[in-house]
Symmetry: C2
Subunit: 200 residues, 2 copies
């Protein structure tokens, strides 16, 4: 119905998560009708990011630098290492604001059925870092993978390897979210909260 | 928190309608983590569209051709002309499937407060088309601007000009949508539906 280039654009916009045919059409019309400057800027930002953004050589988070700004920050505690599944998790923890150590990003979780093994998650590199001694040594490994079946399996796998190297391994607490109402919490979370209760 | 290129990308994605900071972040992460091919394709589609898509020389809809495929289609009724506010309206009418005439896209409506006058809407070109005689002549002008205050004012303005040139002017019907339930229809629409009732 639209001309080929516009149809191409609508199809390309549908690759965005949460964008269906109607939203894609609305976005295409908006960009072409109202804001071509923004569309041009978006095109070049995308091109730049796709070409230049890679992974930090140390923590594997997304960055266009060789080593990301978190890893090179000397004011952070380099003896603490937090393992997360995605770069978005790093952001979430940074926004919470009370953790000042370093990160290690897995970019996923162990999933044999999808062919994702330890090597894909960079666990050999994580092993090297945990084995480092002296200045470079890691005092505590905090495992913050998601509390899903795969996330838990990945956490167990990493914990075993780290303990074998003599590093303290901890897991972030799971339970009722702060401000949450018991009435609306699912049974699995509540059961976990009871099992993991602490002495007051 | 993210590296500069990723921050740029997130900011650029926020120009899309309906995309806030969280969605933009999710989109950026998705494109960089999961689907770089799609991101590259989106970048080039956007670039192409921004560079090449202009307006049809005859109906002013968005197209990369000089004259769009609707205007050059000889199987359509060239004596019927439907005036709409946006290219998306053309698509909506085409999808309804019972109109086979041509279109004229205003790209907005008269809005003196925003400095949008008849020239911005291409009404001089519309006037020329309405004035054409013989083969090129328009038999009926169907005004399908939105039933808003500005849309109605624009419809009146266009109707007066067209009538002065001896062209029949019609307005699409407004009332209770087909399949709609009276209970949920707003008062303004219901009042209009009563005022515009037809003999059964």
């Amino acid at each position: 119905m639209f001309s080929p280039l516009i149809e191409d654009l609508i199809r390309a916009l549908r690759c965005l998560p949460g964008v269906g045919p109607k939203s894609a059409q609305r976005m295409a019309m908006y960009l072409l009708e109202k804001d071509r400057d923004a569309a041009g800027l978006l095109a070049s930002s995308l091109q730049q990011a796709v070409e230049k953004v890679g992974r930090c050589g140390q923590c594997r988070t997304l960055t266009e630098q060789d080593i990301c700004s978190l890893c090179t920050n000397t004011r952070r505690d380099h003896s603490l290492l937090c393992v997360v599944e995605t770069p978005a998790d790093v952001l979430a923890i940074e926004q919470a604001g009370n953790y000042h150590g370093l990160y290690f990003v897995l970019h996923g979780h162990l999933s044999p059925i999808d062919g994702v093994g330890p090597a894909d998650l960079g666990l050999d590199r994580l092993g090297e870092r945990l084995g480092a001694q002296g200045e470079e040594g890691i005092r505590e490994l905090i495992v913050a993978t998601n509390p899903t079946v795969e996330g838990e399996a990945t956490a167990q796998f990493i914990a075993e390897r780290a303990r074998a190297k003599g590093v303290t391994v901890t897991r972030i607490a799971h339970g009722v979210p702060i401000g949450g109402e018991l009435e609306y919490i699912d049974g699995g979370t509540l059961a976990h909260a009871f099992n993991s209760r602490t002495v007051l």
